[in-house]
Symmetry: C2
Subunit: 382 residues, 2 copies
């Protein structure tokens, strides 16, 4: 519980729900006849509606990006460091929207929601959604909120991929694209890690082919393993060394299979707490959206061609120790934009935190981010 | 099946077994009253017994390092590229010994062996063994074979750790130490990956707390996940890109959870074939031996102090794209040796293959290895 809401917080916030009944055609060929999207907003939409910002979340993110749901909340939203009065995404200037993506598990239609055709949870029958599908659903949310054009669409990691896709699919509906710690597609190694995650989830005896809701269980062990593995790839080798080194929890080796090293303790805790707040089928869908994302594929692998129609100005940020989506991958995006004479700023931030850096208020990173967003704000006020 | 045995092969070989009944005191405080070690030998022991080479195996290795067990064998031993007439470990000069380590699953006493006290498989009651324990058991094998001093002890990865420990524990029993793609201890990230492996193995419903032998099953899914994850860390990101890229098995996305990308197909195959040839309890023991290895720990973290009594000459080899045991880790060994005025040659080999490089006959690597071993051979013939 926060003793009091900090002055630079957006304060108490509420998740809202919108029901959509215009069918959504998906990349997989299926159609979602109707669906819910849950979202939160922070700040005030200007009368001329030009100050709206969309935040796209990453794999395990959700609509609760900033502020507190109640005075009893122990933690604020997942990107509270970046969103609020005086912060890089300054709610004194901007109207900020963040939603839970389709397929999610925090209120938007997803595998745990009721399939209106059967009255049971969708489970594995929920369609596999893509980044492109998400962007389409987000555009409908924008319509519903009266936002014709975003001042900026912003996201890190898988969120950054959505930003890129926004710029491709709706070039005139965003003025700025902020792509942080992302990549234009996954490498074979990234896909390989996702496949191990999928094997762990799907082989859990409590997975029941994705119909575990009906059995009153969750594939806890699979989720735990998936999250532990995820965490290793979010942190750098260096960050783990700094954080844990070879430190033993009890000071000495026990020659057994209980926790011995601090890093084991940390990972088990991360894995176990994830089980309480995330859904295995959603995790599976997220890994597939990641694997499939590859806007250059339709253009014979030419990313510059994929970005040819882009009109947004870009800020691309990468972190030196990020080995999940390395700076090299961000530079591919930057190069493709420059090849097409697009406007792009690029920052490669020295940070030892690995991929997780995008969630951490590293001064150099936030200085750049803040300065860029001040420019975006200044344009709105013109 | 080899159509015929190649001329540079050691030919048909046979695994031999030695039973030891002098109790072995282990680091964990327990005692192995008796045990078997299985081993193979290639080449001929010189009359003065000065041409013996010990090969130490890595995590999933065994005593079958070279040659064929029968004309029906599809593949030779695991390091056949390096061992044989005219190869770096030239059997025209050397008498080569390779054993399956204690705790292994290829014939040496291990979890799948019968516990003489119960008449049942040891299972989880087999003691956790350390690199130090292995070296002690290997020294007894040397005694039994009449080898007072090895011309060289050679190993890659976890095998390299055994080499290092030989030089520490029995400084006068080896003239050369060849440490390939190794590290003086595991990083927090290395331990973290091992912990995910352990969780996958131990949470398999067919694991039965390690007593699966008695249930007539194996924790196949856990082993598969463990091996898939291992493979990702053995290959470099670059090697995976070169080998698989984003290639789809059927040429297009299927929007399902069957194999889609080639890399998934490869990993699943590697995982599944591993199940047939490896034991889960052995895998667990190997990860513990890796986690615990840290010769500097007894010297306040000072590796140079740990290596103070070393008398062997060293060849240390690392590979640029190895991110499991990076060149930086090999350089720690080299620096510690140099700080103690020891004799060490070091080669950092440009290779895109990742950690697996140590098993691959990369020309630059093998040239260095061969030249070094020719020097070792020349010393024997003096």
């Amino acid at each position: 519980m926060p003793d009091s809401i900090p002055a630079d917080s957006v304060g108490l916030v509420t998740t809202q729900t919108l029901h959509f009944d215009t069918p959504l055609n998906l990349d997989c060929g299926r159609v979602l006849a109707e669906y819910d999207l849950v979202y939160e907003t922070y700040g005030t939409l200007a009368e001329n509606r030009d100050n709206a910002i969309l935040i796209c979340h990453a794999l395990s993110g959700d609509q609760h990006a900033a502020g507190y749901h109640s005075m009893e909340d122990r933690k604020p939203g997942w990107w509270d460091t970046a969103i609020g009065p005086g912060k890089p995404i300054d709610t004194n200037h901007f109207y900020v929207v963040c939603l839970n993506n389709l397929g999610g598990c925090k209120g938007s239609s997803g595998p745990a929601s009721t399939n209106p055709q059967t009255g049971k949870p969708w489970g594995p029958d929920f369609p596999i959604v893509t980044v492109h599908d998400w962007v389409n659903s987000q555009a409908r949310l924008a319509d519903a909120l009266g936002v014709g054009q975003w001042a900026a669409v912003i996201g890190g990691s898988l969120g950054g991929m959505q930003v890129l896709q926004w710029a491709i699919d709706y070039p005139r509906r965003l003025r700025h694209a902020v792509v942080i710690a992302a990549a234009p597609n996954l490498t074979a190694q990234n896909i390989a890690f996702n496949e191990v995650v999928r094997q762990a989830l799907r082989s859990d005896p409590d997975f029941y082919d994705g119909r575990y809701y009906e059995h009153g269980v969750v594939p806890a062990q699979g989720l735990k393993i998936a999250r532990m593995l995820g965490h290793i790839t979010y942190l750098s080798d260096d960050a783990m060394r700094k954080k844990f080194g070879r430190e033993l929890r009890e000071g000495k080796i026990s020659f057994g299979f209980d926790v011995e090293f601090q890093v084991e303790s940390y990972l088990r805790y991360q894995g176990e707490s994830f089980v309480e707040r995330f859904d295995a089928n959603t995790y599976l869908l997220m890994t597939k959206a990641l694997d499939y994302y590859d806007p250059a594929a339709e253009h014979g692998g030419d990313l510059s061609a994929a970005l040819q129609g882009v009109e947004a100005q870009f800020l691309v940020v990468s972190f030196t120790s990020d080995w999940r989506f390395s700076p090299e991958r961000s530079r591919e995006i930057v190069k493709a934009l420059l090849d097409g004479d697009k406007t792009v700023s690029y920052a490669e931030v020295e940070a030892h935190h690995g991929h997780d850096a995008f969630l951490i208020p590293i001064p150099h990173y936030f200085d750049i981010f803040h300065a860029y967003m001040e420019r975006v704000a200044a344009e709105c006020e013109r």
